[in-house]
Symmetry: C2
Subunit: 261 residues, 2 copies
Amino acid sequence: MRSNEVARIAGVTVRTLRHYHALGLLPEPPRSANGYRDYAPADLARVLRIKRLASLGFPLACVGEVMAQMDADEPEGDTAADPLAELDRELEQEIARLEGQRRVIASLRAERLRPDLPVPFGQALRLLASDEDLAGLTEEEQATLVIAGHAYGAGEVAELRRVAEALEDSLAVSAIAAFKDRLKSLAADAPEEERAELTAEALEALAPLIPCFSRDNWLRPPTESELLLEEASRVGMNAAQRDVTARIERGIENLMAEHAE
Amino acid sequence: MRSNEVARIAGVTVRTLRHYHALGLLPEPPRSANGYRDYAPADLARVLRIKRLASLGFPLACVGEVMAQMDADEPEGDTAADPLAELDRELEQEIARLEGQRRVIASLRAERLRPDLPVPFGQALRLLASDEDLAGLTEEEQATLVIAGHAYGAGEVAELRRVAEALEDSLAVSAIAAFKDRLKSLAADAPEEERAELTAEALEALAPLIPCFSRDNWLRPPTESELLLEEASRVGMNAAQRDVTARIERGIENLMAEHAE
DNA sequence: CTTGACCCCGACGTTGCGTCATAGTTTTAA
DNA sequence: TTAAAACTATGACGCAACGTCGGGGTCAAG
């Protein structure tokens, strides 16, 4: 039989036969006078066996071993692990992985969240800001948001949700928005009194949120990701703006210390 | 930030960053004086987005498009198909495929069948022959068996099972075994009377099985696979042996015609 | 005698990076 | 201060399982 015939009957391509030859799975048959491969029925049988094992999920690299083990009328028992069992475990893991992906996708679609942010963070964000708010962010702010999304652990996300709930029906929202506007237009050489006033205003607006903050999140040493996050959030700021944000952070820590007593 | 820093925070390798650059997913950042890449936080954010979308199952080739579509505040609705929905369908298909493989493996393991034969054929074979019988086959016979396993359709396999059931508690088994032994030792120049005798003996042994045979399977024109199968089964035979098997086949057809009346 | 259908071999493309190899740079320990 | 360790860059090969292309020989039919 010639390549084409074997291939057609076995339901593979001629290229596949050549591939099996190259991998050593299929012995090279004798050549007829013209150089064409001259396959015997046993070769066809071997192709069928290879194809079948491959269709079960065995990598071709394993198929040779598996067939050899089968032909050696398998003493197995306990010496050789059952390749089928191992393959089955791998398939199970792979399926679990894909199902995990599908679950995430289902959450994203059901809640119409951004696919490129972790689900819990996306949910918290949805509570904190409307779509228009997010659309109005500068590029740096968007970047900070995405980094935060991946830097935040479960603790931080939980805190975000508490904050979001506290913000509902609160005057803090508009106060914080007003503060952010003023901070943006703060000149680098702003005088001391303007900085102090802005800091005080921010702390006043944030005061009702203090009970939501977790001491664990705020007082422990920051992780590498969090340092980077802070750096990212300061990218577009001038000296005065950085000064004010630093003061606010210290102020929050003081407020938390008071609140803890 | 330098490559290593971005990579560590994003949880990828430096090589991965370079790969994203090569695919055009991540813009090349400016270089510092020494030629090192100097990443901005926005680049880190982009890496995180890419990684996230990739982890959902999007091929990297699609990730760029998906992000672009997201950034263009998605008019979608009906113009652009939801990539998440499409991805979800693909994942579903893939999972179904893998589960199919697992089901086959489960059958194989439960019934201790040869993994390189189709399950229904393996089951029928188990009914027809013991493991020792199969171990005693010549290479050509093994090859024929494997080819038959893949050439046979549901109809032939069903017939095999009927035959197997008919063979139970039947004297045909030993008669057929005796015939096979005699056929093997048949000389190429065996005289006419020996051939006729052998044919008659075989037909007599097969007679009780005739009702199991399906006219559809025997009288329709053979498929390409079946021709090959016959060729394979004749590989080791001499002229007299081929003659006898051909006579038997004709004899079976006659018996079936009689039985149909 | 040509056309179309095969055969051969060799080599590149696919996917998502890992892993050298080679060469310059920066940081750190002795 | 210097030598070693750790980073950076580019370029290239490797993996899995073939698909596909290109160039060149073979064979049957019109």
